[in-house]
């Protein structure tokens, strides 16, 4: 499978440098490209020093929450009295997001190196890489790379001859979006239903098997070797707007664009550049209507907001949305926003774990109301009902799946109310697409 595009001038190629380069998948090929130098360096450092370096770099979690990575690592107990664990979250299931699969299938050793550095920093002897079950190629590639890493002595009881034990295992998921939530991921590793846990306790205090655990996203971990190699200052320098949002981000662009794919840009790039320049804009003869910049769980932006939005954590918040996972879903004027909001609600209803009342019942009820509206049986009070349900589904549950269902509903009704109302008076404004 070919990598979709040659590097674009507006990209900053760091993580995606070897996408499409088959040799980079092998240990030998990776080493030839400078791989595992960072790990070698780290193994001669104190774990606390590694944590400090990552803290200094300003790296923030790329899975969706944007939590400062070094700070998260520092929550782990300094005095190790029980086994520590690192979990790599490769469950990538947020609609619109498809970057972690690329990192794994093109540069598996990048991830292995990143995990090894991270687990060393947090004094974890074991990393579980939780890969969703549907990712057949990434699973195959990662298993092969892991086997190589062990054979070459990178991992194992004597990692790179350091005398330190670094073990890494793949744990294959079995089809549940909610297992991308960090506490549900831990439950899934433990052989349980993927139910999120109430917090406190937090993973660094009591995580997988009740022991101190850190969970990081694939993209976050893949950035770590670069920070070690080129320094925290270099990473901090990769910034176009807000100094709190640094580094590069792989944005997965999909939907109504001419050139969908993953694009690696420096934080702060305008969303308009990403859509119009890098991706060639919407299909010929169409115009941009809406965009979700951070995976389906963040509020929808209308055209004006999309074109004003800077792609970093703060920039997205300014436009009333969030950077999230960076899964950019583009809607042109042929999109039926009502149908797509329903389809998103249906996604959340299917994925709800069933613990919390608001989520379990509310997501399904939301779908039913939207389906009825689409079938021409909606009433105007249905919109108020949807908004009221969304409010009661926000901020009241164990995890944010419930809030994530509410986000497209609220933003969809707020910004595309006329489309909803058209269904209600019986004349949809666009032909239903899909």
């Amino acid at each position: 499978m070919g990598y979709p595009h040659p590097p674009h001038a507006k990209e900053t190629i760091v993580l995606s440098q070897y996408f499409g380069d088959a040799e980079a998948r092998t240990h030998a090929g990776w080493v030839k490209r400078g791989g595992y130098e960072a790990l070698r360096k780290v193994l001669a450092m104190e774990p606390a020093g590694v944590v400090d370096a990552v803290k200094e770099s300003g790296l923030r979690g790329r899975g969706g929450a944007g939590f400062p990575t070094g700070l998260k690592w520092s929550f782990m107990p300094k005095e190790k009295t029980r086994p520590h664990y690192l979990c790599c979250n490769a469950d990538e299931s947020e609609p619109g997001t498809f970057k972690d699969r690329e990192i794994m299938r093109w540069t598996p050793h990048a991830l292995i190196e990143g995990c090894a550095i991270a687990q060393y920093a947090i004094q974890a002897e074991i990393t579980y890489i939780y890969i969703r079950g549907e990712f057949t190629e990434p699973l195959r590639v990662m298993e092969a790379a892991l086997a190589e890493a062990y054979r070459e002595g990178v991992l194992g009881d004597n990692a790179m001859g350091s005398g330190k034990r670094l073990d890494m295992y793949i744990h294959k998921g079995a089809g549940a979006y909610i297992c991308g939530e960090e506490t549900a991921l831990m439950n899934s590793i433990e052989g349980r239903r993927g139910n999120p846990r109430i917090k406190p306790p937090f993973p660094a205090a009591s995580g997988v098997f009740g022991r101190p655990t850190t969970i990081n996203n694939v993209e976050t971990l893949a950035a770590v070797p670069h920070i070690i190699n080129r320094g925290a200052e270099w990473y901090k320098g990769l910034c176009l707007a807000n100094p709190k949002s640094v580094g590069t981000k792989l944005f997965s662009v999909c939907g109504h664009v001419q050139r969908p794919g993953n694009y690696e840009v420096t934080m702060g790039v305008p969303l308009a550049d990403l859509i119009y320049d890098l991706c060639g804009g919407v299909p010929e003869g169409r115009s941009l209507k809406a965009c979700i910049p951070g995976g389906s769980s963040v509020p929808i932006l209308n055209r004006e907001e999309t074109e004003a939005c800077k792609l970093d954590y703060e920039g997205c918040v300014e436009q009333g949305t969030m950077l999230g996972s960076g899964g950019v879903i583009v809607f042109d004027d042929s999109a039926d926003m009502v149908y797509q909001v329903m389809r998103l609600a249906r996604f959340y209803a299917h994925e709800s774990c069933a613990q919390c009342t608001q989520c379990r019942e509310g997501t399904a009820w939301t779908v039913r109301i939207l389906e009825r509206i689409l079938a021409g049986q909606g009433e105007s009070k249905d919109l108020d009902l949807l908004l009221d349900l969304a409010e009661q589904m926000t901020g009241k549950t164990i995890c944010v799946l419930s809030d994530s269902c509410a986000a497209p509903v609220v933003s969809g009704i707020k910004k595309f109310r006329s489309e909803f109302e058209a269904y209600i008076v019986g004349k949809p404004s666009v032909a239903a697409v899909g």
Partner: protein
């Protein structure tokens, strides 16, 4: 389809060793549950109540517990499925790119008629799934363990023919 009659255990010989290796990765036996269930499904194509009872016995947990876990994860089948199990993503990004047309095409050409049903010749079961994490390569389709991308309705007839005849990609 599993033959009626006595249930033949899976975790003997090679599979038993495989599971024992897996058990070494975790401090509890229960943690090997998802890997064990994958072994069962890879061997038998689905996970029967008897298989759940075997897994339970091997991991020293209850069959009811195993069933609760199996029923949570959508990739585990609790009933036999067609020889080719087809999963098509129709979540919003793919939906915008014509995924539902791909579904209709598959239903037509496999003869399944409706989602979740197995075709009369036992060759296919087609279902819609949620985001497969390949949104930029719409529409992704999984046929058993083969993950294909950029599937459009026009590619479907040839694909179905290929899988019906048993030829792998």
């Amino acid at each position: 389809m599993e033959a009626t009659g006595k249930y033949a255990p899976i975790f003997v010989g090679e599979k038993k060793s495989e599971l024992e290796n897996i058990l070494e990765r975790y401090p509890t036996k229960q943690a090997a549950l998802l890997p064990a269930l994958w072994i069962v499904q890879n061997e038998r194509g689905w996970i029967s109540d008897d298989a759940m009872a075997e897994v339970a016995a091997v991991l020293e947990i209850t069959a009811a517990y195993v069933k609760g876990v199996v029923s949570f994860y959508t990739m585990y089948h609790q009933h036999p499925v067609g020889r080719t199990f087809v999963q098509i993503c129709t979540t919003t990004p793919c939906n915008l790119c014509g995924a539902e047309e791909v579904v209709r095409s598959f239903l037509e050409h496999t003869g399944c008629g409706e989602l979740g049903a197995t075709s009369p010749d036992g060759g296919f079961t087609v279902i819609e799934v949620e985001c497969l994490g390949a949104c930029g390569f719409a529409t992704p389709v999984m046929l058993n363990e083969d993950f294909l991308e950029d599937i459009t309705p026009d590619k479907v007839p040839a694909l179905v023919a290929k899988y019906r005849s048993g030829a792998a990609i």
